[in-house]
């Protein structure tokens, strides 16, 4: 996902989230000024606002985690991508699957890094269906699910081992490159205050 698109995505989120959060805080402040000090509703309202704030922070953290994953894949920073998963995570990207962090590491460092896979994710961009994105935080505040609509650039590595193919690979060439609409569905878990990917799979639209 290029920088402009990432910023647009973030900006769009901040805009939507910011308006909601801003409205909530303003409302609470105004209500607090009008209500008597002894009113029992105030602590409840503050707790509610705290929950909303935490919820928004978690949603933003998950969106950042998602952007970190897509950015790492685009930049072929596979070691960075691996660290975004929790130890027992599972991953399924267009037919390539792995369960557990060691297997995910092998997937990225062999299938992806050495271009052994039949098809690779090489870039992501915004989807017209982005408005249907969903991030849901569980009541326990430690689990979440998300759906991110996107378009993925699928690259088919050059299978040949000729000089020509070797030189083409050095330049980042592939046999075939095309965009496909789909969505990334994910589960997340929060441990020690940080969100990690517990499961991630790509589904074509």
């Amino acid at each position: 996902m290029n920088e402009i698109k990432m910023n647009r995505t973030r900006r769009a989120f901040f805009l939507r989230g910011g308006v909601v959060l801003g409205a909530g805080v303003a409302t609470a402040a105004a209500a607090g000024a009008l209500l008597p000090a002894t009113c029992t509703a105030v602590p409840d309202r503050l707790q509610e606002l705290q929950r909303e704030l935490t919820n928004h922070q978690d949603r933003e953290a998950i969106r950042q985690l998602h952007l970190a994953f897509t950015g790492a894949i685009e930049n072929q920073a596979y070691e960075t991508a691996i660290e975004l998963f929790e130890p027992a995570a599972n991953l399924n990207l267009s037919g390539l699957s792995a369960v557990g962090k060691p297997a995910i590491m092998r997937l990225f460092l062999t299938q992806y890094r050495q271009q052994q896979a039949r098809v690779l994710h090489s870039a992501y961009r915004q989807s017209p269906r982005q408005q249907q994105d969903l991030v849901a935080i569980a009541a326990d505040g430690a689990h979440a699910t998300a759906t991110f609509h996107c378009e993925v650039e699928l690259s088919c590595p050059l299978a040949a081992d000729s000089t020509l193919a070797q030189m083409a690979r050095l330049q980042g060439q592939v046999a075939e490159r095309h965009w496909e609409a789909g969505r990334l569905e994910a589960r997340y878990v929060k441990t020690e205050g940080h969100w990690k990917i517990a499961a991630l799979r790509y589904l074509a639209a």
Binding site: A159, L164, M167
Partner: protein, 592 residues
């Protein structure tokens, strides 16, 4: 005529010394007094002060005492003295000097009219550190199979301007693809003559006519920088060879060059001189970027280092592979679909049940064939009673012109036969591919044989007429798309001389990228129909032989390779072509 004596070896066969840093320092010592030049130095800077500011690079403050001595302060540091030389290319100035006692120096191009400057910060003994860092970033092992390459010039390019105390100009020189596709002939003031082909934005292909007598062209990583619509800066480093740096200004109005060469030649002797030259264009072939792509942000330069990636095998390893792991066309299961045969033609099977004799002239092979079916044949040398079985594949690249191949005897070295049969006149050509060269066992080499074939229903062959070697393809450039998809497996061939060719790998944006060259041979079968053979010497060892048909812009061919992976293989090549253009170089090669 140049009187310098060269080895008879092709450049890629010369075992350049892996010099130590101390040896390089010693060899560069004479650079302290500046370069030599056959033509007079420019005195444009004599007595003047020049301050160059670069973007993210050095700040250079010069005081020129005269036309060959300067004082330089780098980044405000202490001034140091050095010898220098400068040449004036119609107002564009090339300045060259080293920093005494170091392996560093600068080649600077200054345009006083615009106040823009491009600075080449040149150094030696920098490969190891750069390669170590690059390998760490790419998480791969560093490439030192061919040594530390201390002799290889390294360059950083900085774009900047002359600071005269007024506001800095907004523009800068920039990388460009405006020279891409152009060919030049140059004759320098030192009598050196060259052909240069700028068919990539990252590489160039050149041949010193006064050196090799018109044999192999050589490829080098290259920078192309635009000064204006007719003046350009070209620089190359002969990486994988001597490591010598060339920086030159090219003026396409005047067809002139002003340049500098800096490096250690094959005898480890210093070459540091300025040169002037005049030339002419040899042609302009197509480029394949979308319109509007000017390659100004081309990214970092990439290098192809085949001496690192070549899989050198021992005698025993090669012997084992060719005797025990030989496969032709997947042993009948087909080949090439995932490689260079994605556009292979329809398999010809109609010779099944037929017999023929291919009879080559002048003591060449005479081979009798019985085609068992569409994939297997029996063959024997005439006079030999033993028939051998072999897998084969046959194609029809032109009407009634058939091309098939099979392995020959299981012996070491091992050969294959690639046989063309012309049913319109009874002529035949065999390209015999054999493993091994005097340099490496797992390279291959071809031998051409011309003759006839005899077969029931075929024409009575002529007595005198034969297929033959040709120079008709010299100067031509073709793109070859070996597999479907975008971009698929695609390259461009440049048939630069009668005995060499180079291939260019397109970058994702369609611009020319990495390039390498090899010996190549061309024979003519019919008008517009040729057999072209090449050996990827010192980079892969593969023999490729294609029968190309300009009428349908398609080929049929075969690859012959021995390696640890896959053993000895004979496989199919099939690609679709586009004509990219032609360079008129024959007169410079003595062909007309």
């Amino acid at each position: 005529m140049v009187t310098r004596s060269y080895r008879s070896l092709q450049m890629h066969r010369i075992p350049y010394t892996d010099l130590t840093e101390a040896q390089v320092t010693q060899a560069l010592r004479p650079t302290a007094s500046g370069p030599s030049s056959k033509s007079a130095f420019s005195d444009v800077f004599a007595g003047k002060h020049l301050k160059i500011v670069t973007t993210d690079g050095p700040r250079l403050e010069y005081n020129f005492r005269n036309s060959h001595e300067l004082e330089l302060s780098e980044n405000g540091g202490k001034a140091l003295k050095a010898g220098y030389g400068a040449l004036d290319s119609r107002g564009l100035i090339l300045l060259s000097h080293m920093i005494p006692g170091t392996q560093r120096g600068y080649e600077v191009v200054v345009d006083p009219r615009t106040r823009l400057a491009t600075v080449f910060e040149v150094s030696f003994s920098g490969y190891a550190a750069a390669e170590t860092a690059a390998a760490a970033e790419a998480k791969r092992a560093p490439q030192f199979k061919n040594g530390q390459r201390n002799r290889e010039a390294q360059r950083k390019i900085w774009f900047g301007y002359v600071d005269d105390g007024t506001a800095a100009p907004a523009a800068r020189h920039a990388y460009t693809n405006r020279l891409e596709g152009k060919g030049m002939y140059w004759r320098q003031d030192n009598d050196i003559e060259l052909l240069e082909f700028y068919v990539s934005i990252l590489y160039s292909n050149f041949i010193e006519l006064t050196r090799f007598g018109g044999e192999m062209t050589i490829c080098a990583p290259t920078d192309y920088i635009m000064v204006n619509d007719h003046q350009f800066i070209y620089s190359r480093i002969e990486a994988e060879f001597s490591g010598t740096l060339t920086v030159q200004i090219i003026d396409l109005f005047e067809m002139s060059q002003k340049g500098v060469r800096l490096g250690l030649n094959e005898k480890d002797e210093l070459e540091y001189y300025l040169y002037s030259g005049n030339g002419e264009t040899t042609g302009q072939i197509a480029s394949f970027e979308v319109f509007g792509n000017n390659a100004e942000t081309r990214g970092s330069r990439r290098l192809y280092r085949p001496l690192e990636t070549f899989e050198v095998m021992t005698d025993d390893e090669v012997k084992d592979q060719v005797l025990n792991h030989a496969h032709a066309f997947g042993d009948g299961h087909g080949s090439g679909a995932a490689g260079m045969g994605g556009y292979k033609g329809e398999l010809v099977t109609k010779f099944a049940g037929k017999s023929l004799t291919a009879r080559m002239d002048n003591g060449g092979p005479v081979i009798q064939y019985e085609f068992t079916d569409g994939k297997q044949l029996k063959w024997r040398y005439e006079g030999n009673s033993n028939w051998r079985d072999a897998w084969y594949e046959m194609y029809e690249p032109d009407e009634d012109l058939y091309f098939f191949a099979h392995l020959l005897d299981a012996e070491f070295p091992r050969s294959c036969a690639m046989v063309a049969l012309d049913m319109k006149n009874g002529l035949s050509t065999i390209v015999k591919g054999t493993t091994g060269t005097p340099f490496r066992n797992n390279e291959t080499h071809p031998t051409y044989y011309f003759g006839v074939f005899q077969m029931e229903g075929a024409p009575t062959p002529p007595q005198y007429l034969r297929h033959g070697m040709t120079d008709e393809m010299v100067g031509e450039a073709y793109t070859w798309n070996y597999s479907p998809g975008n971009p698929g497996l695609t390259s461009m061939h440049l048939y630069a001389t009668p005995s060499t060719y180079s291939w260019i790998i397109f970058q994702p944006d369609g611009s020319g990228g990495l390039q390498w060259s090899s010996p190549g041979w061309y024979s003519k079968l019919r008008d517009g129909v040729y057999i072209m053979a090449w050996v990827e010497e010192a980079c892969n060892g593969t023999l490729g032989v294609i029968l190309l048909n300009k009428k349908i812009m398609h080929d049929a061919g075969f690859g012959y390779h021995v390696g640890r992976q896959g053993g000895l293989s004979l496989s199919v090549i099939g690609a679709r072509a586009r004509h990219a253009g032609k360079f008129e170089v024959k007169k410079h090669l003595g062909l007309i």
